[in-house]
């Protein structure tokens, strides 16, 4: 394991060090005293593990392709932006636009997420991005979502809605699993409820197990939670909007 002290190190230099460590074969890199440095893990194609102590800055793991990043702290905005593959585990909250346009890989967040999370997530063939959020999500959650799966647990949010306004507006692909604690009027008309299938249950079981393991929750309790599944009404929400000039 390579340990890099990020205290007072400019992001550019820090990221260079991380990339250097990876190209010289390090399989596990530990970053300590991280304090707002941006772009950690961006565009890295490798299978290394990066452990972050502190708070990484915006656009962590953007365009990432393979690594596992575990953050002992909060994530900021745009975690996993347009990521292709890899795993992100955040022992805290994450900011706005988490998982924007991600096409593959997994993001586990213990706490809440900000606005516009999961916008335009998309899936293609074997690439199906998954996001598991322990807490609640802000407005515009899963807007324009085109593929992938998001589980929203809403733990500790009893009595309040786990999603904000304009949830899933324009959604035209993918699946949402949301725990029964939200205001229906917040949802866009492009989504509808659907029955959980055996496949859904298997999927939930495997990801909720990992979620419990990562964050030290009682597995049985988490697996016992009820989820409501949302799917798109159609894959072409705006297909009939136009007339030929």
């Amino acid at each position: 394991m390579v340990t890099i002290d990020a205290k007072g190190v400019y992001y550019k230099e820090l990221n260079e060090k991380v990339k250097e460590a990876i190209s010289s074969g390090a399989e596990h890199i530990e970053l300590i005293n991280v304090n707002g440095q941006r772009y950690i893990g961006d565009g890295i194609s490798a299978s290394a593990k990066i452990t972050i102590h502190g708070i990484p800055g915006n656009d962590m793991a953007a365009f990432m392709n393979g690594p596992t990043i575990e953050v002992f702290g909060n994530g900021q905005d745009a975690v996993g932006n347009t990521m292709n593959s890899g795993t992100i585990v955040i022992h805290g909250n994450a900011g706005d636009v988490t998982g924007y346009a991600m096409r593959g890989g997994e993001i586990f967040i213990k706490g809440n997420v900000g606005y516009r999370v999961g916008i335009h997530m998309k899936a293609y063939q074997d690439k199906v991005p998954v996001m598991v959020i322990g807490g609640k999500a802000g407005d515009f959650f899963a807007e324009y979502m085109a593929g992938g799966k998001i589980i929203l647990l809403g733990l500790g949010c009893e009595g309040e809605s786990v999603v904000g306004r304009y949830c899933a507006t324009g959604l035209h692909g993918g699946t949402l699993y949301i725990r029964n604690n939200f205001e229906e009027r917040y949802f866009g008309k492009e989504v509808q409820r659907d029955e959980l299938t055996m496949e859904d249950k298997e999927f939930l079981k495997s990801y909720l197990t990992r979620f419990s393991d990562y964050f030290g929750y009682d597995k049985q309790e988490i697996l016992g939670l009820d989820f409501i599944k949302f799917v798109p009404v159609g894959s072409r929400p705006y297909g009939n909007m136009y007339a030929k000039w």
Binding site: K12, N15, K19, R38, Y39, D42, G43, S45, N58, D59, A62, F63, N65, D77, A78, N81, T82, N84, V97, Y100, A101, R103, R116, I119, H120, K122, A123, Y124, K127, F140, E143, Y144, A146, G147, G170, H172, G173, S235, R236, P237, Y238, G239, N240, M241, Y242, A243, K244, W245
Partner: protein, 500 residues
């Protein structure tokens, strides 16, 4: 079905004395205008379906066909023009948002035509490009404020630059909106001439993977086909914020156009709409833009220039200043005449400003702020010929993008129906039967010919001014004079009136 009030746009006339019933027109028309009537044993044409793309006119072996504007005269009315009336009929019938292709076709003033280029007479001799060297090579990218030279060698490390043999690139057109053969034609032409084509937001088809040295890869709000390999493949990365044909709105590539190849390149399921949201949802401010610029630079190890493309809108100068300060290496500005595969008609025709003003305003502003060297300026959205380019360079552009003109080189006849997917010229279509009408070898030849011809013309115009390097014309507005322009227009363009 209720009676349609729609009126025909075009009139098709077949000269029976010339027609040999070969049925070429029947086979060529994807809009199914021409039909062979088995009972009457003759060819009939359905005027209502004609889009005036000229495919039949050009391919008819005896030139028996004429397509004209339908001589439909509404009662004279200074306010309600025939397009206004027709659009109401269509919308009353369908309730739909009017969708159009290509660029704004309204008769707004064309400022290129109101600027005239200088030439030398007596005092400083003109230069003959056939005999004398003439440099029009162009480097796009951030230029340092000063250079350090040590022992005759450049010591300053230059930021990444694109090297263009002609100051003309093919603008962003996605695979999806245009065919693979159109993409191949442009890629090959760019390689041959020493310039760049732009993937648009639809990803880079695997067949074009080794054209990276002549390719700019685009990152738009939908992030289609954007992955590490794609970012690594291009010579530069362009963040698309907006385009001239539809500033402020996103795009929907209809599911019908998402066949197996487009699906694979965009990395989305077949048949599903490819929806690009209006904004990038990770960019709500100049600071956010900076974040994406640097995210891309980090992901590609600062090896590639990052372009930011915007539409020419009212506050373009202030926005461009922000983009330069956000760290972009090149700003691409698309004027309100810019083309597109599909745009809502009202947006296409009435949003944005002429590129001539936008360019002059941006160049002036960046100079005033002392940051002009920090970015290159590329403009597009109306360039029709080489003198437009020379004027653009004199107004301050480093290079231009051509889209519509490039497609015309491939055979486009500007029928504006690109959004139907039935382009008879094999360009704006994914129908294999139509796509194969465009041979990439021939397409590349034609697009390369166009650029070569323009290159020579640019040199001649430069030589006429007594200038032997394009660099000396850049932002040299003294080489332009305005005609038929108001004081205010001259002021914005920063040029004198003819005769001054």
């Amino acid at each position: 079905m209720a009676l349609s009030y729609a009126v025909p746009n075009f009139l098709i006339e077949r000269d029976e004395s010339r027609c040999i019933d070969c049925q070429v027109c029947v086979r060529q028309c994807a809009n199914e205008v021409h039909k062979f009537d088995e009972d009457d044993e003759k060819i009939v044409s359905d005027t209502m379906k004609c889009v005036n793309c000229h495919r039949c006119v050009v391919l008819c072996p005896t030139k028996a066909l004429t397509v004209r504007e339908f001589p439909l005269e509404f009662k004279k009315n200074g306010h309600w023009k025939s397009d206004d009336i027709k659009s109401i009929y269509i919308q009353a019938e369908t309730g739909g948002v009017l969708l159009a292709g290509m660029g704004n076709d309204k008769p707004y003033p064309i400022y290129w035509d109101k600027m005239l280029i200088n030439a030398s007479q007596v005092t400083n001799p003109s230069i003959d490009p056939l005999r004398e060297p003439m440099e029009i090579k162009t480097f796009l990218g951030r230029k340092p404020a000063s250079l350090e030279i040590e022992n005759g060698k450049l010591k300053t490390k230059l930021p990444p630059q694109l090297e263009l043999e002609v100051p003309v690139m093919f603008s962003a057109m996605s695979f999806g909106s245009i065919s693979l053969n159109a993409h191949k034609s442009l890629a090959r032409a760019a390689r041959e001439v020493g310039t760049f084509f732009n993937t648009g937001e639809g990803g880079l088809h695997r067949d074009l993977a080794d054209f990276g040295d002549n390719c700019i890869v685009q990152v738009a709000s939908g992030r289609f086909g954007v992955h590490q390999e794609y970012l690594d493949a291009g010579s530069a990365i362009e963040i698309k914020i907006g385009q001239g044909a539809k500033p402020g709105i996103g795009g929907h590539l209809p599911g019908e156009k998402v066949g197996p190849e487009v699906s694979q390149t965009r990395m989305i399921p077949e048949g599903s709409d490819a929806i690009s949201p209006a904004p990038h949802h990770d960019i709500y401010s100049i600071e956010d833009l900076r974040q994406l610029i640097y995210s891309l630079k980090e992901a590609t190890n600062y090896k590639k220039p990052v372009f930011v493309k915007i539409a020419a809108v009212h506050n373009v100068a202030a926005i461009a200043s922000g983009i330069a300060r956000a760290g972009a290496d090149v700003i691409a500005i698309d004027g309100f005449r810019g083309g597109t595969g599909a745009a809502p008609l009202r947006t296409r025709d009435s949003v944005g400003i002429p590129i001539e003003f936008a360019l002059a305003a941006v160049d002036t502003r960046l100079r005033q702020e002392g940051i002009r060297n920090q970015v290159s300026l590329v403009i597009g959205g109306s360039i029709r010929n080489s003198s437009d380019i020379v004027k653009a360079v004199a107004l301050g552009a480093d290079a231009v993008y051509i889209g519509t003109a490039a497609l015309m080189a491939l055979g486009c006849h500007l029928c504006q129906k690109c959004y139907t997917g039935k382009c008879n010229w094999g360009i704006a279509t994914q129908d294999p039967r139509l796509v194969k009408r465009l041979n990439p070898e021939i397409g590349a030849r034609r697009a390369a010919n166009l650029l070569k011809a323009w290159k020579h013309e640019i040199k001649e115009l430069l030589g006429g001014m007594g200038i032997n390097a394009l660099e000396s014309l850049r932002g040299n507005r003294l080489m332009l004079r305005g005609i038929d322009l108001t004081e205010k227009e001259l002021e914005i363009l920063g040029i004198k009136a003819a005769g001054e």
